[in-house]
C-alpha cells in the first residue's frame, strides 16, 4: 500500500470512529433536556432518573468524543499537510469558530454535570442545557461547513497556484453548507432518539428487573415520538440533498444511482448488482422517472449521466450500496416509529408487543449504521478530489515515513477503546434496576 491509500484509510478510520461519538454529542443533549424538563413539569421522578442516567452515559461518550476529535483535528495537518497549507487560507474561520463552540459546550457541560443539586429552582439547572445544545449544534454546523467547503469550494480565486481574493464568509456559507448541516443535525437527533428507544426495547424484552417496566415504557414512548419528528425532518433534508446534488455535484448523484447516460425520465435504481464493464445492472428494482422527480420535482428533468464526466474524475461506483442502505435503514426506522405511535393511540398492547419491540431494538443500531454509510457515501462520492475541482487527494497526502505504523497503532487503539467503552457502559446499568434511581430522586436524594 502506498502512503496515499494509508493516509486515506487512517483518516477514514478515525472519522468513522469519531462520528459515532460526535452523533451522540449532537443528539444526546436534546434528549437529556427533554427528559429533565418533563421530570420537572410533571414532577415525575422517572423522567428525572432518565435525565440523570442519560447524562451519566453521556460523560463517558463525551470523553471518547473529545479525544477522538482531538486526534482528527491534528491528523488533518499530519496526513494532509499540503491541503491544510492551501485550505488553511480559506477554512481557518469555521475551524476557529468550531473551537469556540466546543469550548462553550465543554464549560457548560462541566457545570451541568456537577450542579444537579446546587440551585433552589430546578429550572435554573435545566436552563444550563440551552448553552450546551447551542454549543454542540454550532460546533456541528461549523465543522460541517469545513467539509462542505471541500465539496463545493468557493469564496476565492486561484492565481499561479495561490489562493487570492479570499472571502471568508462566502467560503464558510458555501453552496452545500445549509443542506448538509440540516441533514447532519436532523439525523443526529433521529439516531440518538432511536438508540435510546432501542435500549428501552431491549430492556423490556429481557425484563430482568420487572419493577423497571414503567420506566422503560416511558422512555420508549418519549424516544419514539422524538424519533418520529426527527425522521420526518431527515426525510425533508434528504430530499433537499438530492436536489442539491443534481444542481451542484451531478457526478456524485450519477455514481450513487448508477446513472450512466444523461436522460430525462431517469429511473431510480434500488439495490441490484453492477457489472462495471458493461454498465449492466442486475437484480435491481427500478422506479421509472423517480430519479428525475427527486432531482427536480418533475419527471421530465434531464439528469446528467456518469459518461459525461471525465474518467479520472468519476467517483467509485460502490457508493450506490451505501446510499441504498442508508435510505433503507432510515426508512425502516421511520416506518417503525409511525407504526408505534399509531398503535400507541389505537391499540396500546400492540405497541409493546414483542414483535414491535424487536423491530424497535433494531432501529438504533441501523440508524447509526446509516450515519456511517451516509458519510462513506458523501466522502467517497467526491473522489478523486480532496478540494473538489482544485486539489486531488493524491496531491494532498503526506510523504512522511511511518504512516503504516501509525495506521496499525490507531487501529489497535480504536479497537481497545471501542471495546472498553462498551464494557464500561454495559456494566454501569447491568445490575442496578432503574427503579432504585427513581425512588432515590423521588425522595429528592442525591447520589
Amino acid at each position: 500500500m502506498d502512503g496515499i491509500v494509508m493516509s486515506r484509510l487512517l483518516t477514514a478510520m478515525t472519522l468513522g470512529f469519531h462520528i459515532i461519538f460526535a452523533t451522540i454529542g449532537v443528539g444526546m443533549p436534546l434528549m437529556i433536556m427533554i427528559a429533565e424538563g418533563l421530570g420537572i413539569k410533571y414532577n415525575d421522578a422517572k423522567y428525572t432518573a432518565m435525565a440523570r442516567r442519560f447524562a451519566k452515559t453521556f460523560t463517558i461518550t463525551v470523553a471518547v468524543g473529545v479525544v477522538t476529535g482531538t486526534i482528527i483535528g491534528l491528523q488533518l495537518s499530519l496526513l494532509w499537510p499540503s491541503f491544510m497549507q492551501l485550505g488553511g487560507q480559506v477554512i481557518a474561520l469555521p475551524l476557529f469558530m468550531e473551537t469556540f463552540a466546543f469550548f462553550f459546550e465543554a464549560i457548560f457541560l462541566s457545570i451541568y454535570l456537577y450542579t444537579w443539586d446546587r440551585f433552589k429552582n430546578k429550572w435554573t439547572h435545566w436552563a444550563l442545557n440551552i448553552p450546551i445544545i447551542i454549543g454542540s449544534t454550532m460546533s456541528a454546523l461549523f465543522i460541517t461547513s469545513v467539509n462542505s467547503f471541500m465539496n463545493t469550494p468557493e469564496g476565492f480565486k486561484v492565481k499561479n497556484g495561490v489562493l487570492v481574493d479570499i472571502d471568508p464568509i462566502q467560503a464558510m456559507l458555501n453552496a452545500s453548507f445549509f443542506v448538509r448541516s440540516f441533514h447532519v443535525v436532523t439525523t443526529g437527533g433521529m439516531t440518538i432518539a432511536f438508540c435510546i428507544a432501542s435500549v428501552a426495547a431491549v430492556k423490556l424484552l429481557r425484563n430482568k428487573f420487572p419493577e423497571d417496566k414503567g420506566y422503560h415504557q416511558q422512555a420508549l414512548k418519549m424516544a419514539m415520538i422524538v424519533g418520529l419528528v426527527f425522521s420526518l425532518l431527515t426525510i425533508l433534508a434528504g430530499d433537499l440533498s438530492a436536489k442539491f446534488l443534481h444542481n451542484a455535484q451531478p457526478e456524485k448523484l450519477a455514481a450513487m444511482e448508477w446513472h450512466f447516460e444523461s436522460e430525462s425520465k431517469a429511473d431510480l435504481v434500488l439495490f441490484g448488482v453492477l457489472d462495471e464493464k458493461t454498465q449492466e445492472v442486475k437484480g435491481a428494482i427500478k422506479i421509472p422517472g423517480m430519479l428525475s422527480f427527486l432531482a427536480d420535482n418533475s419527471f421530465d428533468t434531464k439528469v446528467k449521466g456518469l459518461n459525461e464526466i471525465p474518467k479520472d474524475e468519476q467517483p467509485p461506483l460502490i457508493i450506490h450500496y451505501f446510499f441504498d442502505l442508508m435510505v433503507f435503514f432510515g426508512m425502516f426506522s421511520f416506518a417503525v416509529s409511525v407504526l408505534y405511535v399509531i398503535m400507541h393511540k389505537v391499540k396500546r398492547q400492540v405497541s409493546t408487543s414483542s414483535l414491535m419491540l424487536y423491530a424497535i431494538a433494531l432501529c438504533g443500531p441501523l440508524c447509526m449504521l446509516a450515519i456511517e454509510f451516509g458519510w462513506f457515501l458523501a466522502e467517497m462520492g467526491r473522489q478523486p478530489w480532496l478540494l473538489r475541482g482544485y486539489l486531488k487527494v493524491a496531491e494532498g497526502a503526506t510523504h512522511a515515513d511511518g504512516v503504516s505504523l501509525v495506521l496499525v497503532a490507531f487501529g489497535v487503539l480504536y479497537l481497545i477503546l471501542g471495546f472498553s467503552c462498551c464494557y464500561v457502559l454495559i456494566r454501569m446499568y447491568k445490575d442496578k434496576p432503574a427503579q432504585l434511581d427513581v425512588e432515590q430522586y423521588a425522595k429528592g436524594g442525591t447520589e
Binding site: K56, T59, I60, V62, A63, V64, V66, V67, T68, T70, I71, G73, L74, S77, L78, L79, W80, P81, S82, M84, Q85, L86, Q89, A92, L93, L95, F96, M97, E98, T99, F100, F102, F103, F104, A106, I107, F108, S110, L113, Y114, T115, D117, R118, L163, V164, I166, P168, T398, H399, A400, D401, G402, V406, A409, F410, L417, S420, C421, V424, R427
Partner: protein, 339 residues
C-alpha cells in the same frame, strides 16, 4: 500591532493556559497513581478528583484551540510541522486518548482498576514529553527540505542534548506546577493530610526545576546560538524576573506563609520564562522556514479571525469565570460539602 503579532500573542497565551492547566491535570493523574500504589489513596483521591472532574474537558480545549489557531493564522506551519511530526505527535495523541478515556472510564464507570489508574497516571507524564518535540524542532536544525518535501532528521533529534533537556524540563515542570496548585487547593479544602503530602512533593521538585532550566539554556546555546544571544542579550531581565518569582514562591511554600500568593508567584515564574522564550524566538515559528512576518494568513482572513476571537472571548471569559466560581473559588464545594 499587526495581525501576525496579535495572532501569535493570542496563541502563545492559550498555549500558556494549556501549559498550566495541563500540567496540573497531568501531575494530578500521577499523584493519584502514586497515592494508590503507596496506600495513601484515601488521603489524596478526594481532593484531587473534586478539582479534576469538572475541569479536565475544558483543559483539553486549550490544546485544541492552540493547534487550530496556529494553522488558521499561519497555514505554513501545517505544512512544515505536519509533514515532519507524524510520529511524535501520533505518540502524543495515542497517550492523550488513552489518558482521557481511561480517566472517564475509571471515574464515571462502576469499578476501579489499578491498570486503568496506571495507564492514566503514567501517560500523563509522557504526553508533555512527546509534545515537547514540537518545541524542540521549532529551534531549527532537525528539518531538511528535499525535492520530495520536508523531512525530519531522526538521528540528530534523538542524539541532541537540547531535545532531551526539553523533555526533562517538561516532566519536571508538570510535577512542580501541579504540586504547587494542589497544595493550595488541599489547603483551601482544609484537607491537611493531602496538603502535607503534596507540599513535600513541591519542595522536592523545586531544586531539579532550577537545575534543568539552566541546563536547557546552556544546551540552547549549543544548538541555536543566535536565539541564545537574543535571549540573554536583549531579554535577560525577563528571565531574571522568573528566577526572582521562583525564589519568592519557594520561600513562601517553605515557610507556609500566604501560599495563595506563592501559587501566583509560580504562575508568574512560568509566565515570564515562557513569554521571554517566545519573545526571543521571534520572528521565527520554525527556524528558519516559518517566519511570522511571511507565513501569516491573508489579511481578510486574519481580520475575520481577530474579530471572531474578540467575540469568542466575550462569550468565554464570563463562562470560565462561572466555572471557576463554582468549582475552584467556592469554599463549600472545595471542602466537599457541596455536590
Amino acid at each position: 500591532m499587526d495581525y501576525q503579532h496579535i495572532g501569535i500573542l493570542v496563541l502563545w497565551t492559550f498555549l500558556f493556559g494549556y501549559l498550566i492547566l495541563g500540567a496540573i491535570d497531568f501531575g494530578a493523574g500521577f499523584f493519584i497513581l502514586y497515592a494508590k500504589v503507596t496506600g495513601q489513596e484515601n488521603e489524596l483521591r478526594d481532593v484531587i478528583s473534586r478539582y479534576l472532574n469538572p475541569v479536565w474537558e475544558v483543559t483539553n480545549v486549550f490544546l485544541v484551540f492552540f493547534f487550530v489557531g496556529i494553522v488558521g493564522f499561519f497555514p505554513d506551519t501545517a505544512y512544515y510541522f505536519g509533514s515532519t511530526l507524524l510520529l511524535p505527535v501520533s505518540v502524543a495523541l495515542l497517550l492523550l486518548t488513552i489518558r482521557g478515556s481511561f480517566y472517564a472510564f475509571e471515574t464515571y464507570g462502576k469499578d476501579s482498576k489499578l491498570a486503568w489508574v496506571a495507564l492514566y497516571g503514567i501517560s500523563g507524564l509522557l504526553i508533555p514529553a512527546a509534545f515537547s518535540t514540537v518545541l524542540t524542532i521549532s529551534e531549527g536544525g532537525f528539518i531538511t527540505k528535499t525535492a520530495k518535501g520536508v523531512e525530519l532528521k531522526w538521528f540528530e533529534l534523538l542524539m541532541s542534548p537540547f531535545a532531551w533537556s526539553v523533555v526533562f524540563l517538561c516532566i519536571i515542570s508538570v510535577l512542580y506546577i501541579s504540586s504547587a496548585f494542589l497544595t493550595v487547593y488541599a489547603h483551601k479544602a482544609k484537607d491537611f493530610a493531602a496538603y502535607k503530602i503534596i507540599r513535600t512533593w513541591f519542595l522536592i521538585w523545586a531544586l531539579p526545576m532550577l537545575i534543568i532550566c539552566q541546563f536547557t539554556f546552556l544546551s540552547l546555546r549549543q544548538h541555536n546560538q543566535s536565539h541564545f544571544e537574543v535571549a540573554t542579550g536583549q531579554y535577560w531581565w525577563i528571565f531574571g524576573l522568573s528566577i526572582v518569582f521562583f525564589l519568592i514562591a519557594f520561600a513562601l511554600y517553605y515557610f507556609e506563609k500566604h501560599i495563595e500568593i506563592a501559587l501566583i508567584m509560580v504562575i508568574l515564574q512560568f509566565a515570564s520564562a515562557f513569554y521571554g522564550y517566545g519573545l526571543s524566538k521571534l520572528p521565527y515559528i520554525l527556524y528558519p522556514y516559518v517566519n511570522i512576518d511571511k507565513a501569516v494568513v491573508n489579511d481578510t482572513m486574519a481580520f475575520a479571525l481577530v474579530v471572531v476571537f474578540i467575540l469568542g472571548l466575550l462569550l468565554l471569559l464570563p463562562s470560565l469565570y462561572l466555572l471557576l466560581r463554582l468549582f475552584v473559588f467556592d469554599k463549600e464545594y472545595v471542602k466537599g460539602k457541596k455536590k
